[in-house]
């Protein structure tokens, strides 16, 4: 395999490079090495990275925002000049590179309990977004991904006791689409993600969650539908760095009719993160002909005092459940539709649930009224 290369030389904004060059070499070399490290190659095993790398230098504009005119919300465009909490070059070298190429970012600062949601609409390529929640702040953040080709990179830092409900719909029919999100939780911070996604030409979603304070709590819930030869590649790394964290991940994907879906969920529990509870469940339903499903839950634990579970399943519709439904007069096609819908519905929730349901399965009349 040829080496992965950035489309042009990086110019690193001052402040961003702090601490990154300790190991020696130029930033360009470090990024280049990170792109080609075995662990990173593994993350790109099922999706070609080249196309995404070429696009890192594409022109970006600010996402459209709603709800920023509230007390406790600031939204500004700024030149990148300070370190970004949670930034991890090794985890996301291409996201780091995109930040450098862009040179500027949108910053969303939340300093209180914000009542109404803040909505970001990303059409095609949007500027990197940096979200800060100060101590005890709370926010509902909604993201909608639109447009044809597009890349979104988001860094979120949640202060002590702060709370973020994050809902994201990536339901656009794009030739290629990439969402990278890094989320850092400080002590007793809470993060809840509801992600709804449709496969497209090539869709990639990277999520890096860092439990960086004691008693942090993260819940990640995602529903995906990958139909008609579409592709989806989801890569989640969740690091427990501090004691008594709690994380729960539930990812359900339907892969149908030549669709291709890859999932990699890595939980890394560091030395010292005692009393950690971490759960990961990835369930895949294959329907129709020639669905491809790759799934790999990974656990890396450097601590004895943890409670951890991870599981991945790949299956088809339960024959028992099908018989139960059809024995009540429901014909086979409708019974299958009900079961598929039920499978996804377990992971569809939050403010974007209804839109997601419509796009993913076609909502039922009664389902809406319940």
């Amino acid at each position: 395999m040829a080496d992965l290369a950035l489309p042009k030389t990086l110019l690193v904004p001052a402040g961003l490079a702090e601490g990154l060059t300790e190991s020696g070499g130029t930033i360009n070399d470090i990024v280049q090495d990170a792109l080609n490290s075995p662990i990173h190659r593994e993350r790109w095993k099922y999706t070609k990275a080249d196309g995404f790398l070429t696009q890192l230098v594409a022109l970006s504009k600010a996402p459209t925002i709603y709800g920023e005119q509230q007390t406790g919300v600031r939204w500004l465009r700024e030149t990148i000049s300070n370190p970004i909490p949670g930034l991890d070059l090794q985890q996301g070298p291409e996201a780091f590179a995109r930040l450098c190429f862009s040179g500027e970012a949108m910053r969303l600062e939340i300093t209180g309990s914000v009542t109404d949601p803040v909505t970001l609409i990303h059409r095609s390529n949007t500027l990197p977004v940096i979200v800060n929640l100060s101590a005890s702040a709370s926010l509902t953040l909604i993201e909608m991904i639109e447009g044809d080709e597009g890349q979104q990179t988001v860094w979120i830092d949640i202060g002590p006791n702060a709370k973020l409900n994050h809902s994201r719909n990536a339901l656009n029919a794009a030739s290629s689409s990439w969402q990278y999100a890094s989320v850092r939780l400080q002590s007793s911070a809470r993060y809840h993600l509801n992600n709804h996604v449709l496969g497209c030409g090539v869709r990639r979603q990277d999520l890096h969650v860092i439990m960086d304070g004691q008693g942090a709590d993260a819940k990640l819930v995602s529903a995906g539908m990958v139909d008609n030869k579409a592709a989806l590649d989801q890569q989640i790394t969740l690091e427990h760095r501090q004691p008594r964290g709690h994380s729960e991940q539930t990812i359900h994907n339907i892969v149908a009719n030549g669709g291709k879906c890859s999932f990699n969920g890595r939980i890394h529990i560091h030395d010292g993160a005692s009393g950690t509870e971490a759960q990961l469940s990835n369930k895949n339903l294959g329907l129709g002909d020639n669905a491809t499903i790759n799934t790999k839950p990974e656990l890396e634990i450097y601590n004895d005092d943890v409670s951890c579970s991870h599981g991945a399943t790949v299956g088809t519709l339960s024959q028992e459940a099908l018989f139960y439904l059809t024995s009540r007069g429901i014909d086979k096609a409708e019974a299958e539709a009900l079961l598929s819908q039920g499978f996804l519905q377990q992971c569809i929730d939050g403010p974007l649930a209804e839109t997601a349901l419509k796009a993913m399965i076609g909502i039922r009349e009664l389902g809406a009224s319940l």
Partner: protein
């Protein structure tokens, strides 16, 4: 009027070692208004009979005929049999997370109405009916929003089956060990539900291990199934005799 007519039914179940014959020429006639209890030792073919009648996959019919009124059931899909009026109360009702009970019941009642050329009930009225039914069977109406049978106790699952029986009002109800795993109070609730369902135009086939249920749902006939054949038929006193003597004196 004959409701169900099973004649010379031979059937086998598919196992890893090939097909295993279970029913070996079974005959059974149920007329409108009748309740038939089917008893018999483990492995005699009681559940197989219920499964074959409702069309559960995994069984092969090797011969014989099953008529529901004028319709031959054996070539029909399970949903077509249900639309013609067959209902199976499951021995082990299935849990279906993500599909709410209410959604499921509405899909079912709409399918049955469509198949019979009747108008589908309006949603508000339907939901009211279902809530009332649930209440009458001591089921917390909150369960209607939860996944089908999800997290239900054994007793709740069985009561949910009876609620569906009352809602869908089929021509013929097959109850497959609906009493198993029920405490005495739940048993009474279930029996009361079945008695509410009974009328002069429908029929019940009740599969059970124990005479106790028959104290509450009084059968017109009791049959003993053994090794794939009905070897003895009688009235409810036969069940009492079985309770006292076991099956050994017959087999």
């Amino acid at each position: 009027m004959k409701l169900l007519d099973v004649s010379n039914l031979h059937a086998s179940v598919e196992t890893d070692d090939g097909p295993q014959p279970i029913l070996k020429g079974l005959n059974l006639t149920v007329k409108a208004g009748e309740v038939h209890a089917i008893m018999g030792p483990n492995g005699s073919g009681k559940s197989t009979l219920a499964n074959i009648l409702s069309g559960r996959p995994g069984y092969t019919v090797d011969g014989g005929e099953v008529m529901l009124g004028n319709n031959n059931l054996l070539n029909l899909e399970p949903f077509e049999r249900a639309q013609m009026g067959i209902f199976l109360a499951f021995q082990y009702p299935v849990e279906i997370p993500g599909v709410s009970n209410m959604e499921f019941l509405k899909a079912s009642i709409d399918s049955l109405a469509r198949a019979r050329g009747e108008e589908q009930p309006n949603t508000a009225n339907f939901m009211r009916t279902v809530r009332e039914l649930a209440g009458s069977l001591d089921l917390d109406p909150a369960f209607l929003k939860r996944g089908v049978n999800e997290g239900f106790s054994g007793g709740e699952k069985k009561r949910n089956e009876i609620m569906q029986l009352l809602l869908l009002n089929p021509k013929l109800a097959l109850l497959d060990e609906t009493d198993s795993g029920l405490d005495i109070d739940a048993l009474k609730v279930v029996a009361d539900g079945v008695n509410r369902y009974r009328n002069q135009s429908n029929g019940v086939v009740l599969i059970t291990h124990y005479q106790r249920l028959l104290d509450y749902i009084v059968p017109d006939y009791v049959h003993v199934l053994s090794n794939g054949l009905i070897i003895e038929s009688g009235d409810k006193s036969l069940a009492l005799e079985l309770e006292a003597k076991g099956y050994a004196w017959l087999t």
